[in-house]
Structures are given as C-alpha cells and as structure tokens.
C-alpha cells in the first residue's frame, strides 16, 4: 500500500509537489494511510491537475479514467454470440438461384416453424413473459440473418447464450436440409406416379444443398480493444478540454485583477 500511495502522490502536478510534496509525504507517513485514503488522494490529484492545468498530465489522467469507465461499460453490456453456416447450392441445370429455394426458406422461416423452435429451445424467456408470441417471433426473425446467393445460403443466428445460438442454428440448417429432401422426394414421387406427364419446367429441379461446416458461436458486438481505445481517447480529449477551459478562466480572471 505504501508504494501505491507513493506512486499516487506522483499524480499531483509537479509544481504542487515542489511546494507541498515534503510535508504531504510527512503527513502520509504519520497517518498510516489505507485504501480509502488512496482513493481520496487520487481524487485530490485529479482536482489539482484540473486546478493547475497541466494539460498532458490532465489528458493522461482523464484518459486512464476513460479506460476504466469504458471497461465498466463493456462489462455491463450483455454479450451476444452469432452462429453461422454457409449452405452451398449445387445447381445442375440453370444458373442463378433455384426458384425452389425461396419457397423452401419460407417454410423454414414460417411463423409456425419459428414458434416451434422458440418453444423447444426456450428462447427469449423474458420477452415471452411480456409480449405476444407474434412479437417474439418477429424478434427471432430479427436475430436470424438469411442471405441467399446463386452459390450459397448464408444463415446465421445471434443470441446471448452461445450454446443456444449454436443449437438453434444447427436446427435451422437441419430444417433447410429436411425441406430440401422433401422437395426432392416430392419430385421423385411426381415422376414415378405420372410417367405420361409433360416434361417439367427445367428450372424446377436440378439442385442440391450441401453443408460443409458446423456452426461455431462467435462473440459479436463491440470489440474490447476498440472500446478501451475509445474510452482513452474520449477521456484524454475531455481532459485537454477541461484543462484549457480552466486555463482560459484563470487568464480572464487574472486580466480583471
């Protein structure tokens, strides 16, 4: 504690320490300073820096304070995890997104299917207590990202619980694969039942969905380093502004004397 207090005394402006440093050290030795005194001393140092307007030190002190505040904000912000999978589309005939895919996606992302997923996985417990299921499904849709391209479907789900994010994402992908299987089964059934039927629209068949990776939840949102840098930058700027304002006030007061 003694060394920390000795370090904290150095946070006072050099000019102030030159005047009061020796007697201040003597006081700290006499009083057997504790943790509360350390905080009091740091507050005193900050106020003296503001008062004596040492701009670089003031910027550094406020920058450190900004880092501390940013870390608290980062800690208090709830974490979210995104789990993503790319479903590859293998198209045998026509180029472009097969027309069955949007139909297939509408089944997977239908209100009934999403309601089932919410209930089975007990998603959004607090929202379900206070909102209608339609609103919760709307929220669920906002957390699902579905991006179709001619080559692949990018499906991802973001949720505060990493395990649930991964599990629900796996189930969404499985639903796509089951729907794909059902389409192909229906096509095979149509073909065998109706041999005399006219040839089908070639764009209505000839694709397959393949999944090659497994969903891994990754944290999303603010990056810690960026948040801390922002805290330091914001704090330092505020420190410079306060020190300059203080200096200006002192000059204007001096010019009026």
């Amino acid at each position: 504690m003694k060394k920390i207090i000795q370090f904290a005394v150095k946070l006072y402006p050099a000019r102030w320490r030159a005047r009061y440093g020796a007697e201040f050290d003597a006081l700290l030795e006499d009083m057997n300073a504790g943790f509360g005194d350390l905080l009091n001393l740091m507050k005193g140092a900050l106020l003296m820096q503001i008062k004596w307007s040492n701009i670089p030190l003031m910027a550094a002190a406020c920058g450190l304070l900004g880092i501390f505040l940013a870390a608290q904000v980062f800690r208090a912000t709830p974490k979210r995890y995104a789990s993503s999978v790319k479903i590859h589309i293998v198209s045998y005939r026509s180029p472009g997104l097969p027309p069955e895919v949007p139909v297939l996606a509408s089944h997977v992302l239908s209100e009934a299917a999403l309601t089932r997923l919410i209930e089975q996985n007990e998603l959004y417990p607090s929202e379900r207590r206070s909102q209608s299921m339609a609103d919760v499904v709307h929220r669920f849709r906002e957390d699902i990202t579905y991006r179709p391209t001619p080559e692949a479907l990018q499906v991802s789900f973001t949720y505060p619980d990493s395990q649930k994010a991964q599990k629900v994402e796996s189930e969404l992908v499985r639903s796509f694969m089951v729907e794909n299987f059902m389409v192909r089964l229906q096509e095979a059934s149509d073909k065998s039942m109706n041999q005399q039927a006219p040839p089908r629209d070639p764009t209505r068949s000839g694709f397959n969905l393949i999944v090659t990776d497994f969903p891994h939840p990754v944290p999303v949102g603010a990056n810690l380093i960026k948040v801390l840098s922002l805290g330091f930058g914001g704090g330092a700027l505020a420190g410079v502004a306060v020190a300059m304002l203080r200096r200006r006030i002192q000059r204007s007061a001096g010019s009026h004397v």
Partner: protein, 95 residues
C-alpha cells in the same frame, strides 16, 4: 459544518498546526476525518486566498498559521452559521 476549508480555519484558530495535527484536531472537535487529498486541497486553497500562511520550520512537518484575513473570514462564516443554528433550534422548539 463539513466544508474542509472552514474546518481547517477552525482548527488553526487556537494556534499553529501541521497537517497531521490538524487532521487529528478536526477528528476530535468535529468527528470528521479528512482524507489527505481533501486536507491538502483545503490548505492549498486557503494559502492561495491568503487566509493561512506557512510557518518556517526545520521539520518537514510544516505548521500553518491563521492570518488576520483568515481570522476575519472565519468569524464571518461562524456568525452566519450561528444564525442558522439559532433559527433552526428556535423553529424546532415551536413545533
């Protein structure tokens, strides 16, 4: 009465004291423990305003002395406080 500058002035009213002696004195007469940062913040302000001045001493524990201006200021502040205390007590008796 918790303004640190007023507490320091009151402490010096009966004689010169260094930082630790002021801290202990204030703890005794006001039951308030001033932290080192608060105490020296008050000392710095009071010296700037000319209400106290350091006394030469060979020791690192430099004593401070109330100036005439500081004594006048303390008297004015205490008179103001005295009015508030008397008015408060009078009103309490009427309730």
């Amino acid at each position: 009465m918790s303004d640190p500058t007023l507490l320091v002035l009151a402490s010096l009213a009966d004689g010169d004291k260094h930082g630790y002696a002021m801290m202990e004195d204030i703890r005794t007469f006001a039951s308030i423990r001033l932290g080192p940062g608060t105490l020296y913040g008050a000392i710095t302000r009071l010296e700037e305003r000319g209400w106290i001045r350091p006394v030469n001493s060979p020791d690192r524990r430099r004593p401070y002395r109330l100036t005439a201006a500081g004594r006048r200021h303390l008297q004015e502040e205490l008179a103001g406080l005295d009015q508030v205390v008397k008015a408060g007590l009078r009103r309490l008796r009427h309730v």
